[in-house]
């Protein structure tokens, strides 16, 4: 309804163009067009800002999200891209008293869903007694038969839930969908909060907004409490970096301090779920899965899954692991369940639902079908077993009566496969458009976590804000935005802004053992980054010389061709494609272990990648390429510096370093074998010293003129030179000594012994004796060390 002119006249100028839509409720304005009390402070604050000041504050939030590397993955036909996080800068404000009622309704619903879940995977009384149609279960792909009869360890199936809710035209809240499988969004809610608190830093501290950290702290404690013993771990199971919400998986794992795992990281041994680590198998007894149930075990569930762990269902059957949530809980997300939950609530608890869900009719029943046929104009039809959200992305589950068909006949024919739902009219909330506020449709995702003392509701949530007035436009895949949700208290709030340590006396946490897959990715990240650097140094030296010679076939220019060829690089390209690909491999490896990186390290790598790709389009060989590669080298050094200065010396860092040492040692051996060969053309030795970044050192230690012995000494045998082969071997020796089982019962491991042998042999070489053949042999030995390392730790 439109505000009356007299009221609108009194609205502040930031609301000059704020006109609620007819027939929907609005969060900000009451039906009389007055600002609701809970919003007054925020609107007053915004109204006092000039458009420039408002834009600057909003930019603070966006800047934070960019710096933190928050993204989501958008899917187009056949491809997907990482997109900047679309924050709607105006939070949604809800009074605490109203929130308390919502929370009570959702807790009741969570308990009801647990009871339904226990029945569907237990005695199946609800079907036998006629409360649920059997077809809804028997033909449901989310009802996982291998889990029937498997009692969850600890007794509960559901531990972490989300509900999508919206406010209807009459002002009451409705549940639009239940997320019981592996709900996402809690981590994004937290990031939205950090960004929004920065935007409103002047008022946030005094705005009496409930903080979110307590919710996460409680849930983390609950997860830790579910462990079988202190030695076993909690993990988060992710489908991997290509998943839409992988950022959140990595973020939550980092925030809660638990391992982020993929199916491949796990194995089952004697009925116990174990993490494969570089130190052997380590038990895990609580798994928060962000992976759909059917993919969790290729042996007993979907055999096509490459994301799961064979034997996982067996471990559940043995009761050795708690799954958050139990496998099979996706069945409750089927849209047709909304048609039955009101009745199930009465049947199971004798109580009506405190918070109604959106009116839903399953078309498998004649009476319901007749009602749907008579009211088709107000209905949205969709697949009965669809688990998609009400306004999901380009929703393939939506159905319409084919043109020309008789609706009643068609409904009867499709019957069991269809549900009809009342078309949703969501309430609107302010969003900033063109410097002023505009009403946009809004739905809210609310999170519940089970703790030892019952369900906790996150005081806040994840609001979706539509791009246009169309309620379907709230989907982020369709351009919708996300907003923070402020639950505003009548009194001051507990301002614990961050995660406190676990309750009880402080115990220094054990370093979790590094999963094998993470170690492998870190090792290869080190190798690819170093390989990129090596290529860049060769390329720069070549292009510098190309710029001053007229002859591209000059012997000094073609000398490195075999080295380029070994990595598939065409050195006549300004920025070679193969260089971009190697960098891409580094990014891929880093992306696999994103939870182990500071966002700064990731940003540095992503920035390097972006710049290199941009340069590749226009850079020409010669001086242009030499300077471009120089710029890239400086960026790469920035990443290396971050890693070296900031990364904690845990086992993962050692694998990263080992990768770099290996690659650099091999690169230098190949470089010297080529450029310090007696048959190499004039200038080759100087070029080697330049590529080895040791021009100054050579001058200081020896003289202006290079000779084979001085170059070999400096670049192979000088353990003080961070470019020399011996320096790398010393590094390998040091890091290997820290790895698990480097010595056993006082004896060196095979790897330690091989490293020591290689190091000692080189350390006792004389420059004269290290000829081309022995340099190539050394190259082969170092490659052998990499293989041995892989066999020992990375399989």
């Amino acid at each position: 309804m439109d505000p009356r002119p007299s009221d609108a006249a009194r609205l502040p100028k930031v609301l000059a163009r704020y006109a609620p839509l007819a027939g929907v409720s609005d969060e900000l304005l009451d039906p009389a067009g007055r600002i609701r009390p809970v919003w007054r402070g925020l609107i007053r604050h915004l109204d006092a800002l000039s458009p420039q000041a408002m834009a600057a504050r909003f930019e603070r939030g966006d800047q934070y999200l960019r710096d933190a590397g928050v993204f989501f993955r958008q899917y187009d036909a056949g491809s997907s891209t990482e997109r900047a996080w679309p924050l709607s800068h105006v939070p949604v404000l809800i009074e605490e008293a109203e929130w308390t009622r919502i929370a009570a309704g959702l807790i009741q619903r969570a308990d009801l869903l647990e009871a339904v879940m226990a029945d569907l995977y237990g005695p199946n009384r609800l079907v036998a007694d006629g409360h649920l149609p059997p077809a809804l279960i028997a033909s449901n792909p989310e009802w996982l038969r291998p889990l029937v009869g498997v009692a969850p360890r600890g007794g509960s199936h559901l531990h972490f839930l989300a509900f999508e809710i919206g406010r209807g035209p009459d002002g009451t809240w409705w549940v639009l969908g239940d997320r019981t499988q592996a709900p996402s969004g809690a981590g994004f809610a937290l990031e939205n909060r950090v960004a929004t608190a920065r935007i409103y830093s002047e008022i946030y501290a005094e705005a009496q907004v409930h903080r979110l950290a307590g919710f996460f702290r409680t849930f983390r404690d609950a997860l830790q409490g579910l462990r079988s013993d202190a030695a076993s771990q909690v993990g988060i199971l992710t489908p991997g970096p290509m998943n839409e919400t992988y950022f959140e998986h990595a973020y939550i794992a980092r925030y809660l301090g638990v391992s982020l795992l993929q199916g491949e990281d796990l194995t089952v041994s004697d009925g116990q779920l174990m993490i494969r680590t570089v130190a052997g198998l380590r038990p895990l007894s609580v798994l928060w899965r962000r992976l759909d149930g059917a993919w969790a075990d290729p042996l007993e569930l979907d055999a096509r899954s490459r994301l799961g762990t064979p034997g996982l269902v067996g471990a559940l059957r043995r009761g050795s692991v708690t799954m958050v949530n139990a496998l099979g809980s996706g069945v409750l997300e089927s849209r047709a369940f909304l048609a039955f939950l009101p009745r199930l609530s009465r049947a199971l608890t004798g109580e009506p639902l405190l918070l109604p869900n959106i009116a839903t009719w399953w078309c498998g029943q004649a009476r319901e079908r007749a009602h749907v046929a008579a009211n088709l104009g107000r209905m949205v039809l969709s697949d009965a077993l669809s688990t998609r959200q009400p306004f999901d992305d380009l929703n393939p589950a939506l159905r319409t009566v084919p043109s020309g068909a008789d609706p009643a006949e068609w409904l009867a024919a499709e019957g069991e496969g269809l549900v009809a739902q009342e078309a949703v009219k969501l309430s609107t909330t302010p969003a900033e458009v063109g410097g002023g506020l505009t009403p946009r449709p809004m739905s809210l995702r609310v999170f519940l976590a089970r703790t030892a003392t019952g369900w906790q509701v996150m005081p806040g949530g994840f609001a979706r804000i539509g791009r246009s007035a169309d309620p379907a436009a709230v989907a982020m895949q369709r351009g919708g935005a996300a907003a923070d949700v402020w639950i505003v208290s009548e009194a001051r709030v507990d301002a614990a802004a961050t995660l406190n340590p676990l309750s009880g006396p402080y115990v220094r946490p054990q370093q979790g053992d590094l999963p094998t897959r993470a170690a492998d990715n870190l090792f290869w990240l080190g190798r690819y980054v170093e390989r990129t650097e090596g290529m860049m140094r060769l390329l720069r030296a070549r292009n510098v010389r190309l710029a001053v010679t007229a002859n591209p076939d000059a012997p000094l220019l073609t000398l490195a061709d075999p080295l380029f060829e070994a990595f598939g690089v065409d050195p006549t390209e300004g920025i070679p494609k193969a260089l971009i690909e190697t960098l891409g491999s580094a990014i891929y490896s880093a992306g696999q272990v994103r939870d182990r990186f500071s966002p700064d390290g990731w940003s540095a790598l992503a920035d390097l990648n972006k710049t290199a790709r941009r340069m590749a389009e226009r850079v020409t060989p010669g001086d242009d390429a030499a300077r471009a590669v120089g710029a890239l080298l400086r960026k790469l050094t920035g990443f290396s510096g971050l890693v070296h200065e900031n990364m904690y010396r845990f086992t993962g860092w050692r694998f990263l370093e080992l990768g770099r040492f290996h690659e650099r040692a091999m690169g230098m051996a190949a470089l010297l074998a080529t450029f310090a060969d007696p048959a190499a053309p004039d200038g080759a030795l100087d070029m080697a010293v330049e590529i080895g970044d040791s021009v100054m050192t050579h001058r200081r230690r020896f003289s202006l003129t290079t000779s084979r012995p001085t170059v070999i000494d400096l670049l192979a045998l000088d353990e003080m030179n961070p470019r020399a082969i011996l320096y790398q071997l010393e590094g390998i020796r040091t890091q290997v000594a820290y790895l698990p089982d480097a010595t056993r019962d006082g004896h060196l491991s095979d790897l330690s012994r091989a490293v020591l042998r290689c190091h000692t042999a080189l350390a006792t070489e004389l420059p004269e004796d290290l000829d081309t053949a022995s340099l190539w042999a050394l190259h082969g030995q170092i490659a052998g060390l990499s293989d041995l390392l892989t066999q020992t730790y990375l399989r």
């Binding site: 059997p134 028997a138 033909s139 291998p146 029937v148 041994s269 042996l299 979907d302 067996g314």
Partner: protein, 297 residues
């Protein structure tokens, strides 16, 4: 009839395997009044690092084995003695196909033998239009469901060629049907698709067929490997009826049941996940000896 069963399934690998886990459905089923297991034993070479048994949703006994890494060959062997009880022929108590829907509408059971599990699509069998039309045409003259099952099975036996070269274990029934050829697994899965297309719950059964035919009878197809056939739910009174489309016969004392489920995947004799670097090959040998056909010593 008492049978001695022997099965050996061997896998060879080009490169040593990584660690793996397998589920074996090789123990013959105990079916009151139909089939009695006198003894049953499964051996695995190499010796598994773990071994356990459980009963799956469909009532099959499953042997779960973990096999350590580094194998060139893995062999699963099963030996069993089973008594197949002779049942007197039963009167056809099944309703006509047109009456089945109403009867199914009254079923409120989700136990493992409940017909509802076997009605819709399953991972390997998704009824498609052509097989549904074919099935409807083939059963047009059937007065009862049991007759409909028989007519469809006989039609497939007539129209499909038994050809071990035509298909593999992962061939989809639509491919086998389009080529009109395959082995027992394909015959069974196509028939199941046809029955489900008609609205008849149909299950996949794996088992054995006697190798040495009774005197004067021909040797049956599929006796040199594990066999497969179909169970169809023919209403409350008739219950589950078994038909072997590969051999155009109702299942009798020549068949020994091992496992059953919605399709091959639920009843597979060996299901496994193994980390492999190279190619693999497999070999299967079966002996099913009727005790009274063994000549006296």
């Amino acid at each position: 009839m008492i049978y001695d069963l022997r099965l050996r399934i061997a896998y060879g690998f080009d490169a040593p395997t990584g660690g793996g886990r397998h589920h074996l459905r090789l123990h013959p089923a105990t079916i009151p009044g139909v089939q009695k297991v006198i003894s049953s034993r499964i051996t695995v070479a190499p010796v598994p690092s773990e071994r356990a048994e459980f009963t799956d949703f469909f009532g099959n006994r499953v042997t779960d084995v973990a096999i350590p890494a580094g194998q060139d060959e893995i062999t699963f062997a099963a030996t069993a003695r089973v008594e197949r009880l002779i049942r007197p022929p039963e009167a056809d108590l099944s309703p006509p196909l047109s009456a089945l829907g109403a009867e199914l509408g009254t079923v409120r059971d989700l136990g493992s033998a409940a017909p509802l599990h076997y009605l819709g699509a399953s991972p390997r069998i998704r009824p498609w239009d052509a097989v549904q039309a074919y099935a409807a045409e083939m059963v047009a003259d059937a007065a009862t469901l049991v007759e409909a099952v028989r007519d469809l099975g006989l039609a497939l036996h007539r129209d499909m060629a038994f050809d071990p070269e035509a298909t593999t274990v992962d061939t989809l029934p639509e491919e086998a049907f389009a080529a009109r050829s395959g082995v027992c697994q394909d015959f069974a899965q196509v028939m199941i698709a046809g029955l489900r297309g008609l609205g008849v719950p149909a299950a996949y059964v794996s088992g054995y067929l006697r190798t040495v035919p009774p005197p004067g009878k021909p040797r049956l197809e599929g006796a040199d490997a594990m066999h497969a056939w179909v169970r169809a739910w023919c209403g409350r009174d008739a219950g589950w009826i078994e038909f072997d489309p590969t051999n155009a016969m109702f299942v009798g004392t020549d068949h020994i049941v091992v496992a059953q489920g919605r399709d091959y995947g639920d009843a597979a004799p060996v299901a496994g996940v193994l980390r492999l670097a190279g190619a693999q090959s497999s070999h299967q040998a079966v002996d099913v000896i009727a005790r009274d056909s063994v000549p006296p010593k």
